[in-house]
């Protein structure tokens, strides 16, 4: 096996930001002596992503996700540490490197606002030196997967947000990059459109074996696409591993849902009753004792139905961040 598509070691980015108090006198003072402050946006992160892998990059706003993606795509120079993407050092912005990656960030990257989408695609074809024969088949493929159809003939400014995002993604993938950095590719889109884009990313990854590093605030994206997640907070990696491990590690509880034939049972001796709706109860119990509690419930009570579940992934993530806050 060759080297990983993305290799990051001890990568850091520190911003120097001017610090100024409010008010006029402070404004004058800053003319003479500028106070600055260092902000560690990314703090010695290390990880690798292999060819064909889809990795979710999770963290709250300001965690350092976008800064990391910008460093990996060559837009930002790292303060220290190293990154290699497809064997290149991103900040050198070598033409071969730029021709083989893509960064989708917001909705204003690829398309020229005033002209039909297809003209922007044609422009990208020339810039990325895509041969005509490949170009047509790629367009056909993208049109089918993303359902672009008549959108291609419309000027960009007449597209809706979701339509624009689809075209943006099409333009970003025209040159068939081997590494995709996707920063919130589904933000602001409705559920159907989110699913469509999700399916597309998955199909592209399958067909081209591309490595994908994506951030998203929608857990549905992460659950559907990513076998592996990297959680960062305050610029540091808190967790790197399969999604299921994340749940196992950071959620000490499981939820037992049971249905009884009575609405007046007292289940507090088994665990925390978090919800009751008629004869349906939800109890949160410590993971370690879950089998034992389940056994007792089944033995003691007239149970009609019983399921054991992990808590929703959102809650787990929240838990990860709050535990980090408690530590620091």
């Amino acid at each position: 096996m060759t080297m990983p598509a993305i290799q990051v070691s001890q990568l850091s980015k520190t911003y120097v930001v001017p610090e100024r108090e409010a008010g006029l006198s402070a404004a004058f003072k800053s003319l003479i002596h500028r106070k600055t402050r260092e902000v560690k946006a990314v703090d010695q992160i290390s990880f690798t992503v292999d060819e064909g892998e889809i990795v979710g990059f999770l963290g709250p706003n300001g965690a350092g996700k976008t800064t990391s993606l910008k460093m990996l795509s060559g837009l930002l120079y790292p303060t220290s540490g190293e990154a290699h993407v497809l064997g290149h050092i991103p900040s050198k912005r070598h033409r071969d490197f730029l021709s083989d990656i893509t960064l989708v960030m917001g909705q204003r990257n690829q398309l020229v606002w005033d002209i039909p989408v297809i003209d922007s695609l044609e422009r990208n074809r020339a810039v990325y030196r895509v041969p005509r024969s490949d170009y047509q088949s790629t367009i056909d493929e993208l049109t089918e997967l993303l359902d672009l159809g008549e959108l291609l003939q419309k000027p960009v400014r007449n597209l809706s947000l979701g339509e624009r995002m689809k075209c943006e993604i099409a333009a970003a993938l025209l040159h068939r990059p081997s590494v995709l950095f996707l920063d919130e590719p589904t933000i602001g889109l409705d559920v159907t459109m989110q699913r469509r884009i999700r399916e597309f990313i998955s199909a592209y990854n399958r067909e081209h074996g591309a490595a994908v590093l994506l951030t998203s605030h929608y857990m549905a994206d992460v659950e559907a696409l990513c076998d592996r997640v990297i959680v960062i907070h305050h610029g540091r990696v808190l967790f790197d591993g399969p999604l299921t491990d994340l749940v196992a590690r950071f959620s000490p509880h499981k939820t037992i849902q049971i249905e009884l034939d009575t609405e007046s049972a007292d289940l507090s001796e088994y665990g925390d009753v978090v919800e009751q709706e008629g004869a349906r109860y939800k109890i949160s119990v410590d993971k370690a004792v879950t089998p034992e509690v389940t056994g007792r419930l089944l033995a003691d009570l007239p149970v009609i139905d019983l399921t054991v579940e992990d808590p929703p992934i959102e809650n787990v993530i929240e838990q990860v961040f709050s535990s980090e806050n408690a530590e620091s």
Binding site: Y15, S73, L75, Y77, R95, N109, D114, A126, V127
Partner: protein
Amino acid sequence: MLSIYLAYLKTSIAVMFQYRASMLIWMIWRVIEPIIYLVVWTAVAKSRGGEVGGYTPGTFAAYYIVLMIVQQYTFTWIMHEYEWRVRSGTLSAVLLKPIHPIHSDIADNIGYKVLMTVIIFPAALFIGLLFAPVFTFHADLFILFLLAVVLSYVMRFFIEWALALVAFWTTRNEAFNQVYFLLGLFLTGRIAPLGLLPDWLREVGDALPFQWMLAFPVELLLGRLTNGEIAHGLTMQVLWLVFSFGLHRIVWWRGVRKYSAVGA
């Protein structure tokens, strides 16, 4: 590279057609501006007994018509664009492309000029009918003139592209631009032929590239320069071209480093 330029030209011309009205307004200004100076200088020449600084109303007319055409083919608007590019983050998209961004700027500039050719010559003809220019055509001078215009265009493009990159260091470069344009107004020969400027101002001008952008090619074509002055002018154009080419390379390299250091 050629196919990239063709694609760029296609999109830039398509975009310009979307903005027909504003293109036309800019164009009108480019035609009216020399007419204003021409009207003023014609009046001055007449009040001084038909001549001022070696220019008659007829040669003033020839001067301003040629100046308008040279200005049209050599000007750039890039200095007004970069601040926005840096501030709005569109520069990030440009940096992700596997091609130097100057190419799309060159293509945009050429596209505009090709399109405006259909307007500028009728406009020149129209001014000619109104002001009766006095003009003798010399084929050999015309060839040198074409060379001087090309050198002026390339030199001006690199200078203004490099200065546009000031936007990497300050987000308020409109003030800086104003200084540049004010100097240019006097020192390129727009507001008056350089011979009419006070000596001290001409000395300032000798240290700067402005006169080689407009005044030199115009006066060359009008036969107002000696062979020695023509050779000197072409040499200065080449020197400024070499300098500005180097400048744009250095400023771009350092600018991108700066942009990438503080957050794109």
